[in-house]
Symmetry: C2
Subunit: 368 residues, 2 copies
């Protein structure tokens, strides 16, 4: 295992980690959520021979697909190829990732008794394949690795609904009707996520992103009461590790302030929110990431170009802006377009360096 601090020191001067920390740098950093995946022929070639789970659980394959977009796009960060349900799957909860559907849970969680099926995560052993993947990656990655985990609400939504949902009716019914069971479930899931992320950092991840993908189904009152304390426990529980913590969810326009307050160093902004407006909702001292509409990349370059410039304009050269999509890369996206997006952001993105403009307290200490 490579010394994780040495790994992080190697990347500390790059634009991604400096932007996460609000430190001056020269290039607007860019990466794409779900940059590894079906948009890439080299990914589809691997999936021709292997299931999604095989790729996630085989360190050489998981490392390879994590690296593919780094090679192809020249992005400034990589993110561990994994799934939100991977840790609970590793704990023996029966989960199938159904192509075109998503995770399907064999026995959904519906009562207090179901909680007994979740024991604490021993990340080194339960997720040994993840740790081996991280070990492989940090040896050779030219850019920092972002650790990956699902936040408790999103994870709970899969466990309670039994799969993807439109209304999250069963999840919310548990939340509103049986608050004690709800908080016990969220507490267990928070412990699992925290253990997974701490282990990824111990193996050399330079940052983490906590995906509360579906938290945007909640209004701020419910988010604050039923979700925030648990996500906060995770983010606070990482603070001693001194790696930037990114916090993201879809359709979270009304939650951006709270998602920052939960303990994020950077908040990811959904494409629905104009980035300048999103930034206004994020407290000073917390960075922001986003937020090109992913479907724009299905259009011709003239349209993409205009919208990339619009995102850069709205970011206004902020030292703590990280360019990304407002959600994941769509499978139908032409990789050549994403290559051009990276080039355009690197070429035309500007970072204001003048004192006072965008100054903020650095995250943690120096990573070296």
């Amino acid at each position: 295992m490579t010394d994780p601090d040495a790994v992080r020191a190697r990347h500390a001067d790059g634009p991604f980690l400096r932007a996460c920390r609000g430190l001056p740098h020269n290039t607007v950093p860019v990466w794409f959520m779900r940059q590894a995946g079906r948009a890439l022929a080299e990914y589809r070639a691997i999936r021709d021979d292997h299931t999604f789970e095989e790729v996630v659980q085989t360190p050489e394959l998981a490392a390879e697909v994590t690296l593919q977009p780094v090679r192809r796009y020249g992005v400034d960060a990589s993110i561990l190829f994994s799934d939100i349900v991977t840790p609970v799957q590793a704990l023996g909860i029966g989960v199938t990732i159904k192509p075109g559907v998503g995770p399907v849970i064999e026995q959904p969680f519906r009562t207090a008794e179901d909680l007994d099926r979740l024991r604490p995560l021993e990340a080194e052993s339960d997720l040994s394949f993840v740790m081996q993947t991280v070990d492989l990656l940090v040896q050779e990655l030219p850019v920092p690795l972002i650790g990956f985990a699902g936040a408790p609400f999103t994870l709970a939504s899969y466990l309670v609904e039994g799969g993807p949902s439109k209304s999250y009716a069963r999840t919310k019914a548990m939340m509103f009707s049986d608050e004690l069971t709800w908080h016990r479930l969220m507490d267990k899931l928070a412990g699992i996520t925290l253990a997974s992320l701490r282990a990824q950092v111990a193996h050399g991840a330079s940052a983490v992103q906590l995906f509360d993908s579906w938290a945007g189904a909640l209004n701020p009152v419910d988010y604050q009461r039923y979700v925030l304390p648990h996500s906060e426990r995770i983010l606070d529980g990482l603070s001693d590790l001194e790696v930037p913590r990114i916090h993201f969810g879809v359709a979270t326009g009304e939650l951006l302030t709270l998602m920052a307050q939960a303990g994020a160093d950077v908040v990811g902004v959904d494409w629905r929110v104009p980035l300048d407006e999103g930034r206004r909702r994020i407290p000073d001292g917390v960075g922001f990431q986003g937020n090109l509409e992913p479907a724009v990349c299905l259009g011709p370059w003239e349209v993409v170009e205009e919208r990339v410039r619009d995102v850069l304009d709205r970011a206004d050269g902020a030292v703590d802006h990280i360019f990304n999509l407002g959600h994941g890369v769509l499978p139908a996206t032409d990789p050549a377009i994403l290559e051009q997006v990276v080039d355009l952001v690197h070429r035309e993105g500007t970072v204001r360096t003048s004192e006072g403009d965008t100054s903020r307290a650095p995250v943690g200490g120096d990573a070296s």
Copy 2:
């Protein structure tokens, strides 16, 4: 056919229409999106013997299910029981409403040639069953009838995707890649929707609600460019009829201002947006409707009660507030809870009749 102006005159003094017009009244009006439907045993009994399409297309059945929630809940308005795709289905576009899925289109729209399949709607003949339903309803309804139609973006999303979607990738791909075809499609759909709504009003509907259910998948820049002109054409095209026009979509927090500007008299607010914040985004002179989280009604009465009061508090006695859910009634909802919600809103909701002056509704306020 009953004289439509006489019908409207009969309801004009009720709280729903007065609130829509921003006129003083004594009771906070309340109705529920999807108040007719699976939450009601009397609806399920009808569906045991009839498909969804049969109910929509048989005037006696459609009128009966429209009336059911009025009888059960004592709401202040009814809404035509129909589906967003009903007008295009009537034009011969093959559509099946799949239980648990939604509308599925036999031959999705993908190219300019597909547009030839959409001719203008002759509402009186193509939607004769709708007009007969409205005729039946306005004879006996104790409350105003709201006309129902899907807005062009939402309708286009079904036609282009071929069914419900999570990403609207194909719809947006057409929008970004082939703007001419996109606008031609939207123009045709706007014409169809306008014809349907005008005819519903001609038969006695006292208001209309334009459902742009999935417009919240767009950011304001794209909404303004690709959608707003078409929804505006519909809303403007109704102005001479002098019935209140309600405009609603899910996850539209960032679009509320634009949805008002499109020509709405009332904008429906999704549950994600705190209602006081939603109201701030809606220009003065335009009313607001909403926005109890629908899933709250799956919880115990203590939780429901607290949240109903929170919505009323945030509405702050505004003369132009209409109480509703932030989206449709969930099928698992206990109707007894919705009855209690109506009672509570009528009992405790206050309407300020002038600056600073609030009048409390009489205990047990009447629904009509």
